[in-house]
Symmetry: C2
Subunit: 317 residues, 2 copies
Amino acid sequence: MARSCVGLLGASGETGRSILEGLLEDGNFDIIVLARPASLSKPANVAFKDKGVQLRAVDLGASEDSIVSALQVPLATAAKKAGVQRFVPCGFAPAMPVGVHMSRDQKEVVYNHVKRLHLPYTIIDVGWWYQFSFPKLPSGKIDYVVGLPGQRIPGDGNVPSALTDLRDIGRYVAQVIRDERTLNAMVFVHNEMWTSDQIHDLLEQLSGETIPREYASAEEYERQIVEADTKLKDNPEELASSTIQKVASQYYLSWGIRGENTPEYARYLGYLDGKKLYPDVKFTSFESYLQEVVSGKAKGVYQDSRPLFEKANKKAH
Amino acid sequence: MARSCVGLLGASGETGRSILEGLLEDGNFDIIVLARPASLSKPANVAFKDKGVQLRAVDLGASEDSIVSALQVPLATAAKKAGVQRFVPCGFAPAMPVGVHMSRDQKEVVYNHVKRLHLPYTIIDVGWWYQFSFPKLPSGKIDYVVGLPGQRIPGDGNVPSALTDLRDIGRYVAQVIRDERTLNAMVFVHNEMWTSDQIHDLLEQLSGETIPREYASAEEYERQIVEADTKLKDNPEELASSTIQKVASQYYLSWGIRGENTPEYARYLGYLDGKKLYPDVKFTSFESYLQEVVSGKAKGVYQDSRPLFEKANKKAH
């Protein structure tokens, strides 16, 4: 296969790291990590050089704390001017319609900008992470990796949702971005389908503990969204934790109650089905991932943000 | 083929009439024309009964002058409750991205509502009408059918645009709505590709007249949009003519300058290509349509709105 050159913005984020690893593992890509001038000397970026990755400063005229979607608009414009052959905006989320989730709607702004530019694109969504898919154990022994707020089970616990190991995302990306079938298209990839109750059953089986099950209704999540919106308006100093409370509730409503995070609903929205395109991609099964978790060998995600998650977690209960 | 039941809102509009004729011609559909209670006794609606079409009152809780997109939101909600198997929102326009055209953006609101409902859908776009595709002749002999404002040629006149005879739309719709391949998808159908200069050449050839060619730049259309926006804000009594000025300029920019109204760009946006799906559909060639026009046998569109078009036309020059 001819080598392709990939520019990667956000390589030090959770999804960005997975994509970088997936492209390196594949071996057919020349990778340029894009970073803001002020970030070039950060240890995470310096470390990329040791992996044979180029580092390049990109000035997008946006401030340090700009949200990813704001950075992507000037990046897409620059990509169009540079004749980039395929732009992959930041999707990498569960399948959702427009108008039900704050982050999804911010991404739609980028997608529409890309389309107005007539810039070749591929939108990749990946379902819900394994890493956010399981509850704490009563013994506390897996607290070291539990992240998102909300230990309760959305709805009746019987809604199937598409799960993907964060570490497998890059592997899918390496397949998708060299595939002509996915040019100017949306692709939905995932590892396995699980319901919340099935996950609880499996974790009980693997740990030998009994996990209390508390179910949360749609109304409860709607109430939390209203509460978060009020806080966002009145207490801007609680921006981060209120935003987490809001987006988490919107996710639970979408995948846990309305059942939108499935290959079927993604197909309904216009996505190609990654399972059909790439039936042979190797991925970690959810069971073996959960075994890692219970055996104390898993790695937490968003480690820097854990205090925030804990705060939002407390508020949500 | 099993008969299907089709409910049709807006059957007395230009596109609605074409769809009704297309479904009747096909012969495999039971048709129910939906009309607001107050409109049931209108002559146009009464006339439908003579064609073997049922008439049914539908109260969408919207006022008489509500725009179609506002009517469609409660209609989609009702369709979901009624278990409608396929909802076809009002598309029937040239291919365009979100964020460049007022009408397209109003439609996006409906599309997103439909998707949040998980209501099965098909979005059908049809390119630009033959009926709005040609200039006046110096002799005035085809003034009887010329409609939209703007006799000038967008850009350099060499941008191909997908044209469809308004009267053929219904024929395509009859194909699309019984096709499983188009369920939960967008479809772009069109008759032929023409550039503005080619159209002028053909009309000169058919009429024996020489048509003066004045070209309008992107900046000129942008200026007209700003002017229309100002009028819309300051002179609400000019709502209709200013809106026509705005949407016409936005159309010319899209199909005449950016070249968005093509099957290729539609494919880029995610549409299926009607030419590939239905290669055998019979349609009127643009040349034979233009012969009708020159011979005085064509029928004008939007006859009731012609004074408005004339007014917008004068303003735009």
